[in-house]
Amino acid sequence: MPRPDTVAAPADSVGAGLDALDTPVAAGRQRRLLRAVVAPVIALTLVVAVWQFLWSRAYWPEYQLPAPLDVWRQITRIVGTGEVWEFLWVSVHRAVIGFLISLAVATPLGLLLAKVPLVRAAIGPLISGLQSLPSVAWVPAAVLWFGLNDAAIYTVVLLGAVPSIANGLVAGIDQIPPILPRVGKVLGAGRFDTARHILLPAALPGYLAGLKQGWAFSWRSLMAAELIATSPALGFGLGQYLHNAMALSDMSMVIAGILLIFFVGVGIELLVFRPLERAVLRSRGLGAL
């Protein structure tokens, strides 16, 4: 007989030992956070340093390359007078409303595209094509259809954002492992339960990626529309600010406008979409954001 106590080692303690040995270990996050903050700051400092250097050598006239400090003064001036809040409010609230309408249109559209083959065959290529068409191309048409008003602007924003969001949802649904809906079926999920408990949550990462891109597109389209379609009736947003800067040939104001547009776009992505995406991916053990 071999040693009986070894043979009789209780199954549950072997199982518990295996569990302890095989369980994946989670990685630390402090260093990652440090890297996420420090690296971009260093990059930004470098860009400003190069800019300052080029300006100080005076290779180009001032109206082409302004001093970093002049641009900074432009920004602090409009912050000081409080004008900046009006620009931001006009543009950001339009972008957010445009984005929300796009969301409401694109989500059912994406579900239809993903689940109804006929719909996909009929308008799938059209939606993908629209995605690569710069939405600024719609500005003249929108102005002729609706005149210089908010309707024209929202049309341009929607045509920019809806295809991205719909395509994101389609991609998210296409990438669901087929075993999951099968499991849903054997667990007793009907059509509606399958959509609610399995398809939508499973498609969430792709959908979020689509939302992120949809936001970028709606912000871009809005700026294009504001820049081209300027009228007192439209209020004074960041696009109009940039347009005025061009009219005044004030390069430091132009750069200030570009920077503001850039920071709003990046800011919303960093404050809203990045944390959302990170939370979703991390909870599923995906991505190294």
Partner: protein, 262 residues
């Protein structure tokens, strides 16, 4: 075949959890049609543990899918007297966005069970598969063996749902341990037997591993390949394990080599 086996078959005449009679399955049509299963007769008694054994292409998985309602037979009948049969696949197929406990809870949610009852049942089932402390973990934080145990708990939640002692339950398992390493597989086989004894559910277990079939099953059913037919059945209680394994292995080899000749 032996007297014991005949006795079991007689019992299943009256109350089988699932009875397949003359089940045929053809994939595709016309000249390129493939007959996957041809005249399968199989009855499983309440609480019985049956292993379906066969080489690849014998339609083991097709049998399981048809019992589960994922696929329909081309002809023949499948009668179920159980609650909805639960299925466990080769991969755990847990929902990656739900914790282990939420995964186990999912079939109960789909069945509209009340929240407090759901939670209590889930805790019981997690304890049953010895994962009482891991309910809050996400699938990616668990090892392969632990994930498969969560899947077992989820399958049990689904199988035992709505079963207050009247209807018997049925668990269908499609090579659930074949993707695991040998040590984990060995432990999980033991766990499965323990859970089966504790719950009294009937099990149809598909495998291509003769030793696994003999260790787990009360009855081993050997299927031939292309088309799948029942070749022979053994009652495991009849013979010592090693001998029976040898015998079934021999028969399986015969079945496989018949394909080389054809």
């Amino acid at each position: 075949m032996t007297a014991t086996l005949a006795a079991t078959s007689a019992a299943t005449e009256t109350d089988a959890v699932v009875r397949m009679s003359g089940v045929r399955k053809v994939f595709g049509h016309g000249p390129r049609a493939v007959t996957a299963l041809d005249g399968i007769d199989l009855a499983v008694a309440p609480g019985e543990f049956v292993c379906l054994l066969g080489a690849s292409g014998c339609g083991k998985t097709t049998v399981l899918n048809m019992i589960a309602g994922l696929d329909r037979p081309s002809s023949g009948d499948i009668e179920l007297t159980t609650t909805r049969p639960a299925v466990m696949f080769q991969e755990a197929a847990l929902m990656p966005w739900l914790t282990a406990a939420r995964n186990v809870e999912l079939p109960l949610r789909l069945a509209g069970v009340k929240r407090t009852e759901r939670r209590a049942r889930t805790l019981e089932l997690l304890d049953l598969v010895r994962l009482g402390g891991a309910g809050d973990k996400r699938p990616h934080e668990l090892s392969g063996g632990m994930r498969q145990r969560v899947a077992l708990a989820r399958a049990l939640a689904s199988a035992l749902q709505g079963n207050n002692g009247e209807a018997s339950s049925l668990l269908l398992m499609d090579e659930p341990f074949s993707a695991l390493d040998a040590i984990t597989r060995d432990v999980l086989q033991g766990e499965l037997l323990r859970v089966w004894e504790a719950t009294g559910t009937a099990v149809v277990f598909v495998t291509h591993d003769v030793r696994e079939a003999v260790r787990l099953g009360q009855r081993v059913v050997l299927l031939s390949s292309k088309p799948g037919r029942v070749v022979q059945q053994w009652s495991v209680a009849d013979a010592p394990e090693a001998e029976l394994t040898e015998e079934i292995n021999g028969r399986l080899r015969e079945v496989i080599s018949s394909h080389a000749a054809a």
